[in-house]
């Protein structure tokens, strides 16, 4: 995993250095210095790190070793939330948020539960009302969101 991340980091930094060479004139100096500095230092550090016998990583995910099946569940939770962002403009805030919360909890706990289904539904409903009457954040809308708008409009 460490090698994969190191490879990605160097590749992205190389792409950034390449982009900075595309900039013309004096505007290129600062980005070029910064990106070359990052590339050189990262390569030096990563080489030293890869040659070192006992790596000491620090990130939040380090030391977290999941068995294969459980790693798949973690990936599934991540996929649910990525899909949530993609689905938001089409499914609307309420449906997408409820599904994402419920499915994410079901995967995390290994089984769907009625309590979680109704609990998340109640939370999303309350939060959607709060968004419309207190927070005033324009969220992506679909049919249920419009219905809630109409209901609140009539009621208020």
């Amino acid at each position: 995993m460490r090698l994969v991340f190191a490879g990605i980091l160097v590749a992205v930094l190389a792409a950034i250095v390449w982009q900075s060479t595309e900039i013309r004139g004096s505007a290129a100096i600062y980005p070029m210095v910064v990106s070359i500095g990052a590339l050189v230092c990262s390569v030096a550090f990563l080489l030293a790190r890869l040659l070192a016998p006992a790596p000491q990583a620090e990130g939040p995910m380090i030391g977290l070793k999941l068995p294969a099946g459980k790693g798949l569940r973690l990936a599934a939770v991540a996929a649910v939330w990525l899909a949530y962002v993609v689905a938001l403009p089409y499914a609307g805030f309420m449906v997408a948020s409820w599904l994402a919360l419920f499915v994410s909890l079901a995967i995390t706990h290994g089984r769907p539960s009625l309590t979680e289904a109704f609990g998340t539904l109640a939370f999303v409903l309350v939060f959607a009302v709060l968004i419309k009457v207190v927070l005033y954040v324009p969220v992506p809308q679909a049919w249920p969101d419009h219905q809630l708008d109409m209901l609140l409009y009539d009621w208020l």
Binding site: L9, A27, Y30, S35, C41, P60, L88, P140
Partner: protein
């Protein structure tokens, strides 16, 4: 000033202060969730508030979370935040001796004392420093930003090349978007949304909230759910007070040390209690008790951590330079409210500043009261299942990143930042220099361009003694740090040979 104090003591301000402290204590008490995380997650919520109310609430979260980390450290020996490790050594040892209420009480009162002393320092040092900073021009700002980044690079215990790489990465992130001088787009990679740069809140939420949420999901999947907390008896305030009176000079020393270390960039609340604890053990008449349930050790740790919070806000408000990761996230909140951290804040919005100062003092008083009388109840929240916390943290992170300027693209920026934070962690590059450089990169580049346009060689710097002085101090720090690291390397080699 009086107007500001009156606003800070209004019912609305105090409500936000209480809300901030309670939320902060809850966030801090839950292992894995940090103060930086709490501030980053709740910045979008403050968008609806007046700037001073938002700042008071975030200060409440900051101070509350740093204190809250000690509750789980004392009761379960699981530090809620990395700052509470020392509190766990002393506090949990006391709890095992049946003195959990006393330990929780000392933690609350000592934390309050440290916070109040740092709030007083914040009140008096910040305007003085800001006054001095008003005479700063572009070269002084360049010198100051370079100084801050160098401090962050040399002070962190991680390998120096890792820290430098982190700082460079932060500068790259800060330079995404339109060039401030020529108007050229940089590092856009075909995304027109990046012309205005990376959204600070989205990046910070990605750095600090999502990786923690993923850890919580992973822990929940592997079966680490909630923790069991038994009933804790009520604290006796008189007993706690008498301990604090006994350790009054220790508390004062640790508070001054904590505030001083807080002012330095990169010396956050994580390392401060270790330094204060070591110092007090050397000065103590009973050093053998330290680490085994010493009340004085707990006082030293708690006062210094709490004082560090106020200290880290001094350079942030006076110079626009954050003293810790959490203070760096604070900048995101200020910019969201249209406030530019730095000396001009005192000229443009003095009422906000004075309200914040008084509010920060109130936050620390409230934190003490809530801690003394409510810690044992708030500890019950530790039973919340991790899977549920994680799902809602991810949901609110996404909502927060989106709500800042109702732009779905920010969510992808947040995901990318989270991926970057996880990747950097995996290869061993610390996130703090990245955040500091990301926050300060714009200031550095703008002022560097102005300095270069005005200067006609090195002689220009001779007319700027302050900038020259800061550069000289920076150089001295680099030399000293290199000397120290080389010495350490030599000792390691000698030890290996032997």
């Amino acid at each position: 000033m009086w107007e500001g104090i009156a606003t800070a003591l209004s019912a609305l301000s105090l409500t936000f202060a209480v809300l901030g402290v309670v939320l902060g204590v809850i966030i801090g008490a839950i292992p894995g969730l940090t103060a930086t995380f709490g501030i980053a997650l709740l910045i979008p919520v403050t968008f609806l508030m007046a700037p001073e109310h938002g700042m008071i609430m975030l200060a409440g979260i900051y101070a509350g979370a740093i204190y809250g980390g000690s509750i789980s450290a004392i009761l379960l020996n699981i530090p809620g935040t990395p700052a509470s490790i020392v509190s766990g050594w002393e506090g949990h040892a006391l709890a095992r001796q049946g003195k959990a209420p006393l330990a929780l009480g000392i933690s609350a009162l000592a934390s309050g004392v440290g916070g109040i002393i740092s709030a007083i320092a914040l009140m008096f040092l910040t305007p003085t420093l800001a006054q001095l900073a008003l005479s700063f021009g572009a070269p002084e700002y360049v010198a100051l930003v370079v100084f801050s980044l160098v401090i962050a690079v040399v002070m962190l215990e991680t390998p120096i090349f890792a820290n430098i790489t982190g700082a460079f990465l932060g500068l790259i992130l800060a330079s995404v978007g339109v060039d401030p001088v020529n108007g050229t787009g940089r590092f856009i990679f075909g995304f027109y949304q990046l012309f205005s740069g990376l959204n600070v809140v989205a990046v910070l939420v990605g750095f600090f909230c999502l990786p923690q949420a993923i850890v919580l999901v992973a822990e929940a999947i592997t079966g680490v759910e909630s923790v069991a907390v038994g009933r804790v008896a009520a604290t006796k305030p008189r007993e706690v007070l008498s301990q604090l009176v006994k350790d009054r000079w220790l508390a004062l020393r640790a508070s001054v040390l904590g505030t001083g270390l807080g002012i330095l960039p990169a010396v956050g609340p994580e390392s401060t209690p270790l330094i204060a604890h070591t110092l007090e053990r050397r000065l103590s008449k009973e050093p053998e008790k330290f680490g085994k349930g010493s009340e004085s050790g707990l006082v030293a740790a708690e006062t210094s951590i709490s004082a560090n919070v106020g200290g880290s806000l001094i350079p942030l408000l006076a110079l626009g330079i954050p003293g810790s990761g959490a203070a760096a996230v604070f900048i995101g909140a200020l910019t969201l409210h249209g406030l530019r951290p730095g000396p001009l804040l005192f000229v443009e919005r003095p009422e906000v500043m004075y309200t914040f100062f008084a509010g920060f003092l109130a936050v620390n008083l409230l934190k003490t009261v809530i801690g003394l009388y409510g810690a044992r109840y708030l500890a019950r929240l530790l039973i919340l299942p991790r899977g549920v916390i994680a799902a809602f943290v991810i949901f609110f992170s996404i909502f927060g990143a989106y709500a800042v300027d109702t732009n779905l693209f920010n969510i992808w920026v947040m995901f990318a930042s989270a991926f970057l934070a996880i990747g950097l962690g995996a290869v061993g590059i610390p996130i703090l220099p990245v955040v500091l450089a990301f926050i300060l990169g714009g200031v550095l580049e703008r002022n560097m361009a102005i300095t270069l346009a005005r200067s006609d060689g090195f002689a220009y710097f001779l007319e700027r003694p302050l900038a020259l002085g800061i550069f000289a101090v920076t150089l001295m720090i680099v030399v000293l740090s290199t000397w120290r690291r080389l010495g350490r390397l030599r000792r390691h080699k000698d030890a290996a040979k032997a």
